[in-house]
Amino acid sequence: MNKIPFRKQFKKAIKTDPLMVSFSFLALLLLLFVFLTLSDMIIVQVTSDFPGLIAAAKNESVIRSIKLSLYAGLLSTLVSFLVGVPAAYILARKDFFGKRVVESILDIPVVVPHTVAGIALLTIFGSRGLLGEPLGSYIQFRDALPGIIVAMVFVSAPFLTNSAREGFQNIDPRIENAARSLGAPLWKAFLLVTLPIASRHLLIGSIMCWARAISEFGAVVMIAYYPMVGPTLIYERFISHGLSASRPVAVLMILVTLTIFIAVRLISAGWRTYDKD
């Protein structure tokens, strides 16, 4: 670990090279752009219409939609974990014909416009869709929690898969070999050795996945306008009542998710980490 204080490092870096000066300036622009945009929204809301914020926090439909966002996001992350971690492990460990194609397919949701994803999901999971029709008598996707979850999994699973895969790739296969020659079948070696060593990557991947799921609007709104998740409610209020009606919900949404996000990072900061970085 480098023990030199950040400020000194920064000064030194700037002194050493004009490139660093210009890059630092540009980086600052990006930082301000993100930070100012979000903090300004919160500050304006708190200073100009604090009662509105309180009212929104007490409003039942607002509470319900934020809860639904968090809950559906969590379920989506669980689903992504269950299918994404095995995929990540195979991709990290095995070379096979067509591996590149498999990797590309798994990454497609990252580049597909989310409304396109929504149309695609609606086509296959809709009441007359390839999967929606045969499953219709057991499970309904359109305007229901399962629909929200398939939309969230579709757009967020790649984040978990890629992070997990990087974690597995960082682990020397010889460690698993050692476990096996000590008497562990592969599944035990995976559960008792590989998984714990990759835990930090899995956690980070899960947070990313969850955050991405909560923030999804385009795909979710297509397949399930109701029950309303946070972003849909914000959109609906914006369209029918304007900025002042939707902003309190937006501020609440960001405060809740940021709090959870920071809490998870703080808790995980105390974890000992074993994978080299």
């Binding site: 070999n177 476990a179 020659s181 562990a184």
Partner: protein, 347 residues
């Protein structure tokens, strides 16, 4: 004990071709070869991490070719030890026993005492030295009571002093446990010192299998000779030790060296050929080892000439081409061989 028949395997840039080997019960067997020869791959195939493309492996009369690695009862110690970083030392050692549903703290403690690692039980493995990590890796595999121990370059990641200790530990384990050991290395001195028998492996093939003496005296072809002929390793007995200055008798000739071995110990005196000086007549020198000998052969190696001299024992020396010409070094001619006491490395 271990019989390998017609084994073939291709993996990445490594290949194993038509490997036939027989390792005897309780033998300390060294596989020696340059890096890239496929030694580690062979070890991993024996352990079951890679299925062979063709061929069979037997432990005793048991055909284990298809057996999963966890059922082979093999101890595998990697060059980087592959300890589990998320477990402390004790849990690392207990891992194999846990996999077998055993809880025998007394056995773990006995093993830890034997390898002098009891004081490390609750340490994080990142805080350990290479030698300590190795002993833990060995303890971890030995507590499972394996039939075979496979060692992948066990000494090459260690500093010279730790190597010495580690060598002694491995020998002690072998003589105490009578375990069948296969030890892979690229270091011919290490092979010569440790092995009951050595298999030389080159380009995925076993080229020669012999006792160290036979192998080093009668390499099967020039490639093997070239690979082996770099260093002088002379087996002898310590006849005197006066405060570190040691006399070692090699084939009836006494060599002076520095070591802490006691009188009667069987040792190997190692001498790098570039540390051997050749001259036409006796000169006053600080070198304490001076012998007369006859040149057996000379071989041109680029700017250097390797001169093989019989001076009661066989010795290789490197001289420059110019020196060789000036001293008229030819097979049959007589030379004076000298080297310093401190140039001899005793193991």
């Amino acid at each position: 004990m271990i019989r390998i028949k017609d084994l073939n395997r291709k993996w990445k840039e490594f290949t194993l071709e038509d490997i036939d080997l027989h390792v005897r019960e309780g033998e300390y067997f060294v596989i020696l070869g340059p890096s890239g020869a496929g030694k580690t791959l062979l070890l991993e195939v024996i352990a079951g991490f890679h299925p062979p493309d063709r061929g069979e492996i037997f432990f005793g009369s048991r055909n284990i070719t298809e057996l999963a690695p966890e059922k082979r009862n093999v101890a595998f110690v990697y060059q980087n030890y592959s300890l589990f970083p998320h477990l402390d030392v004790l849990k690392n050692i207990e891992f194999g026993m846990r996999m077998r549903g055993l809880r025998d703290r007394a056995r773990v403690e006995k093993m830890a005492e034997y390898l002098n690692i009891s004081h490390l039980f609750h340490r994080n493995i990142y805080t350990l030295s290479g030698g300590e990590q190795q002993r833990i890796a060995i303890a971890r595999s030995l507590v499972t009571d394996p039939e075979v121990m496979l060692l992948d370059e066990p000494l090459s990641a260690l500093d010279p002093q730790t190597q010495e200790t580690s060598r002694k530990i491995l020998k002690k384990i072998h003589s105490d446990s009578k375990l069948t050991v296969i030890h892979v290395t690229h270091d011919q001195t290490e092979a010569r010192v440790m092995a009951d028998r050595i298999a030389v492996m080159m380009d995925g093939r076993i080229v020669q299998v012999d006792t160290p003496e036979e192998l080093f005296n009668r390499p099967i072809n020039d490639k093997v000779a070239h690979f082996l002929g770099v260093e002088n390793v002379m087996k002898g007995t310590v006849t005197a030790n006066d405060g570190g200055v040691t006399l070692i008798e090699v084939d009836g000739t006494s060599i002076e060296a520095i070591s802490d071995y006691a009188v009667g110990d069987m040792v190997h005196a190692c001498l790098r050929p570039e540390n051997v000086t050749l001259s036409k007549m006796r000169v006053k020198t600080s070198a304490r080892n001076i012998f007369e000998g006859a040149i057996i052969e000379t071989e041109l190696l680029g700017a250097l000439v390797r001169v093989k001299v019989d001076c009661g024992f066989m010795l290789n020396a490197f001289v420059t081409r110019q020196s060789a010409e000036e001293l008229e070094l030819k097979p049959g001619s007589h030379v004076i061989v000298s080297f310093k006491t401190t140039a001899v490395h005793v193991v």
